[in-house]
Structures are given as structure tokens and as C-alpha cells.
Symmetry: C2
Subunit: 335 residues, 2 copies
């Protein structure tokens, strides 16, 4: 499970990541293209050298951030013109640029440039979005040089099962190294999301990784794993950590709650992370209430450790043929 | 050299502190009294248990923060009434309360309650401030229980050499475990500060530690060491770190400056800290410009390491009888 980064996983050093068991990080092409710029990163040894992270790195295509952050976006068959959310300057990224940037960043897994349709988009809009995404996927394959980087295609299709199927059927013959399901976790409810995954995975090759982008809560991950998804990325463990929302096997813990003020227990008695092995809830609450920077790091260490353990348990359960039981048991703990 | 804390040295974990060579931390009585409250900290194993820091801890008396942060302060012979800067609630701290709080916090070195006169205070005000400080110092000695904690007296006297002398002469016969010079670094210039230290140290016992509170820049520390000061505390290394102002042997480095954007060198080629051994100026600049939390931690690690090495060099130079040369050489590098 890659954890996201704009040049660092927020509040974490590379050593912190290693210690919690993170194996791969995700870096945002859009952010790094705008700041500090891919040329600077390329000059400084690519993302691995720049960040001091020697493990695998996946870069997204930039498509999602252009859709969610950039201003005055205009699409053409060639790509997207947009204004930077940082300073309003005008930029253009199409499939060629997305691949060139990701090659300069030297990520290990790179993503085809796609268009992420809004949740509320009508059928016609999404159908055209799928057409663009297919066209750009083809262009990405042609532009990409060398064999150092794996290139994944991204299935779009909004909330329309037949467009999801069409997108997958168009991408698979192109022979990507893996396939992502994009355009989910954009506001749809859990049942619709499950429905869309159900109508995508069967059209993807079983011998290639299937990656669900931007998902999600533990229960969403269990849903998706049951439907055949192999990989995830999500801001949830890190963002929630910074908001003082901590994951535990007994359910969520909101550290600012007054009940923790003099609680000398760790966040989770059974957790082996640095935070739980060293600090009490009372201390973590104090740091959070005082706005101390250490709060963000300690909370993030705990939540990432929780997710890494969770994914490990899923892998073990699958390996031992008891995933359905694991999933049922997990739900029982949390609902 | 203790580094300051309101329950944590900002952006640092206890392990970070150990790794940069910090031996003792300072905690602010005023801050911890208001939040989370000394009763909670006492219940959770004192400050050592609460913070997860097993090394020595020094607490200040609260006097300086009541002077610099609290609102609607009124003084009497018994102590100070003030309003919390956090929520406007009214509180009273006198010598008795200051000692009781510091005993609840279980610091290893505690400070007598004092009054820190403003830089611009006239002679009469400061004379009365010295009278109060002496009165309170006496009360602190009477209130303090047990032998677990060292108690230091604080010399005041504003910018008046004769009042400095009077304050020292009144405190020394009381037999404190150490003596601090308070009320400096409040706006006076370097020459005045040096002058006040010069008119205080000779009246303090040579066999007790002399501690200059709230100082300072490397050159101020060298001044004070030359005049016989043994201990210091200061926010400068940590606060400057968070502002991207980094100490090096070649002089200060402002990390946001554009010249560092693609510089693949560490902050300081000869520095052995984690930050310098792992990250380039270009990466640190990127983190700082992007407001990434990791920037604050990495910068703080470097600046604290710089100060710890600096203090070690001073101790070595004194031990080897070459402090004057060291001081001259140091100034030559920085001016």
C-alpha cells in the first residue's frame, strides 16, 4: 500500500517510514511538477535521491490533482490546460508531458495520464472522458522510453458500469504492466463504489496487479480485496493522524476528547509502534491540544503502523485461505 | 545547555534529543501549570514519565512567562495574580505555589520564584523587584521539601550594576544549589548584557553552577563563558530552525533563499547530524517552501546538533586551557 507524498510523507522521515513497515510511497506528479519542478528533482538523483527514500516509488499521473486542485481547467484531445493552485500560472500537461515528468522523477511505477470525471458527470461526459483516457493511454505507451519503469493504465468510467467495462476492455489489449481503477472515492457511497469495482475487476487480467486509487477506509479495503484488488493508496491514515483521529482494533480514538486527559494507557495496548511503546494517551492529547509538531509525527507513526499491520493481516489471511473469516471478524469489531 | 519545552522540545521526540546529544531539557512551569496542569503530570509519573524523557529536567519558576505572556498582572509581596494567555482565567502564583508546582512536576533542577523587571524599568522599580525576589527566594527555600531536587536562586537587578550586586549578595548567604542570572536578554544590547554579567558573577560562589537564563547567540555564550557562566538555555536554536535559519561554522544559512534550490550539498559539509548526513539543501528548501512538517524537525535536529557541538568545543577548549584562542578563532569565522 503506497502512502502519498509531495516529496515527503507528511510529518515522516524516510527512517520513520521504514520503521513502521512502509515498503512503497506514492508521489504526486502534479505537486512536484509545480514545486520544486521535475528538472530539479531529476538533477538531484530523481525522487529516490531527492527524498532519501531507497524503496519503490509510485507516481500518479497528475490527472486527479488537475481535476481536484487546479483552476480554469480546459481539456482537449491533446491534454489539459490549467492554472496552478499555487500561483495562478498557466500550464499544460498531456500524456506526453505526464510520462516525461514521471520519467524525470524516476519513479518505479508510473501511471498513464487520465481524465477523472466528477462524481455527478452525466453519461455523455463520462463516455467522452473514457475516450480521452483510452487515447491518452495509447499515447503514454508510445512515449515511454526504456524498461526501468512499470507503466499502469487507469480504468475510468464514472459511476456507469458499462463505461467501466468499455474502459477496461479498451486498455487491457494495450498490455500495461498493471491496471488501476481511477475516478472512485470522489463522493460516491460505499455500495456504488463496490458496484463499480465489481464491474471492472473481471475485465482485467488476473496476472497483473490491480490498483484501486485513493481508497480508503479499512472496510473499503476489505470490500475491494474481496473483489480482487491488490493495491491501494490513501491519505486517510496520515490526514486523520494530523486531525487526531487514530485507528485501533477497538475502533477509532479521537485524541482530543477530554476522557484521555489523564489516561496513562497507550493508544492501543496491543500495538507495537514507537508511539504506543513510548507515550500515553494523556501525553499525546497534551501535544495535540498544545498544537505541538511532535503530535503530528507520533499520530502518523501510529496510523501508518495500523494500516501496514492491517494489510499484512489481509495478506496472511489470503495466504492461509481464511480471508472471508478475517473480513467478517474485522467487521464485527468495528460496527 | 538545557533546551526549552512546554512538554516537548518543539518538533523533537526524546530519541531525537538523545541522538543530537542533548543531556538536559528545560520545561516551562507557567505553560505546564496552565496546560495540561501539574496535577495531571504528577499523576502520570512527573515530567520524566509524562514526556518519556529519562535525562535531567530543569523547570523555570514561571516568573518570566508571567512577565512576558500573562495579562493583567498584579504583584504583591505574596506573589503574582495574572490572567492566562490561553483563556483569560485568573491565577495566582507566589513562591509557595511555584515550588509546589515544580515539585509536582518532579524536575531535577527547580528555580526560585522571581520577578523579571522590564528592560526599561526605572531604578526604584527594579530595587523593589530585587527586594521581592529576595523575599520570595527565602520563602522558596522554606517551602521546598526533600533533597531530590536542586534549587537555584535567581539574581535580578535589571540594568543597574549595584542592584545586580545587591541581589547576588542577598541570595548567596541563603545557600542555593546554584545561581541563575535572570532578567537579561529582554531587549538590552550585547555590551550592556556583558556589563551586567560582569557585575554579577564575581559575587557568586565559584563552587556552584552559574546559569545565564534565556541566552543566547553563539557570540553571547562565548562572552558569558569568558565571564564565568556555566549553563545556558535558549529558544534560539529551535525557533530559528522553524524559521529556516540554520547555524553553520561558516555562518548562518537561510534555507528559503533561491540559491539553495538545486544545491546538492548538505547544510554543513562537516556536520555529522542526521539531517546533514541524509538530506541536501535543495530538499530541505523544498520541504520548507512547501510547509512540510518534516522541515521543522530536520532543521531543529541540525541546529540543536550545532549548539551541542558548540558547547562541547567550549568545554574541551576550557579543559585544554585554550578557550581564549577558541573564542577569537570563532569570532573570526563569524564576523
Amino acid at each position: 500500500m503506497p502512502v502519498g507524498t509531495q516529496g515527503t510523507v507528511k510529518a515522516m522521515s524516510p527512517d520513520d517510514l521504514e520503521e513502521v513497515g512502509v515498503k512503497i510511497v506514492l508521489a504526486n506528479t502534479y505537486h512536484l511538477y509545480l514545486r520544486p519542478g521535475h528538472e530539479i528533482i531529476s538533477k538531484l538523483g530523481g525522487l529516490h535521491g531527492f527524498m532519501g527514500w531507497s524503496g519503490p516509488i509510485l507516481t500518479d499521473s497528475g490527472g486527479f490533482q488537475i481535476y481536484s486542485l487546479a483552476k480554469l481547467r480546459t481539456l482537449s484531445d491533446e491534454g489539459a490546460s490549467f492554472q496552478s493552485h499555487l500561483d495562478g500560472t498557466t500550464h499544460f500537461i498531456g500524456p506526453r508531458e505526464a510520462i516525461e515528468i514521471q520519467q524525470a522523477l524516476e519513479a518505479d511505477i508510473i501511471m498513464a495520464f487520465d481524465e477523472c470525471a466528477p462524481f455527478s458527470a452525466d453519461y455523455e461526459y463520462v463516455a467522452d472522458s473514457v475516450r480521452l483516457t483510452t487515447r491518452w493511454a495509447d499515447e503514454c505507451l508510445k512515449v515511454k522510453e526504456g524498461d526501468d519503469q512499470a507503466l499502469f493504465g487507469i480504468v475510468q468510467g464514472g459511476m456507469y458500469p458499462d463505461l467501466r467495462e468499455r474502459s477496461a476492455r479498451e486498455l487491457v489489449p494495450m498490455g500495461f504492466d498493471g491496471y488501476a481503477i481511477g475516478g472512485l472515492s470522489v463522493g460516491e457511497d460505499r455500495d456504488i463504489r463496490r458496484h463499480m469495482i465489481e464491474h471492472t475487476v473481471p475485465f482485467l487480467p488476473v496476472d497483473k496487479p490491480v490498483y484501486l486509487m485513493g481508497v480508503g477506509k479499512p472496510e473499503d479495503i476489505l470490500d475491494a480485496v474481496a473483489l480482487g484488488v491488490d493495491m491501494f493508496d490513501c491519505v486517510l491514515p496520515t490526514r486523520n493522524a494530523r486531525n487526531g483521529y487514530l485507528f485501533t482494533k477497538e475502533g477509532p480514538l479521537v485524541i482530543k476528547n477530554a476522557c484521555h486527559a489523564d489516561d496513562d494507557r497507550p493508544i492501543d495496548q496491543d500495538c507495537a509502534c514507537y508511539t504506543c511503546s513510548r507515550f500515553t494517551r494523556a501525553y499525546l492529547r497534551h501535544l495535540f491540544m498544545a498544537g505541538e509538531l511532535l503530535a503530528y509525527r507520533l499520530n502518523t507513526i501510529h496510523n501508518l503502523h495500523y494500516y501496514m499491520e492491517f494489510m499484512k493481516e489481509i495478506r496472511n489471511a489470503i495466504g492461509e485461505g481464511r480471508f472471508p473469516e478475517y473480513r467478517n471478524h474485522f467487521k464485527g469489531d468495528n460496527e
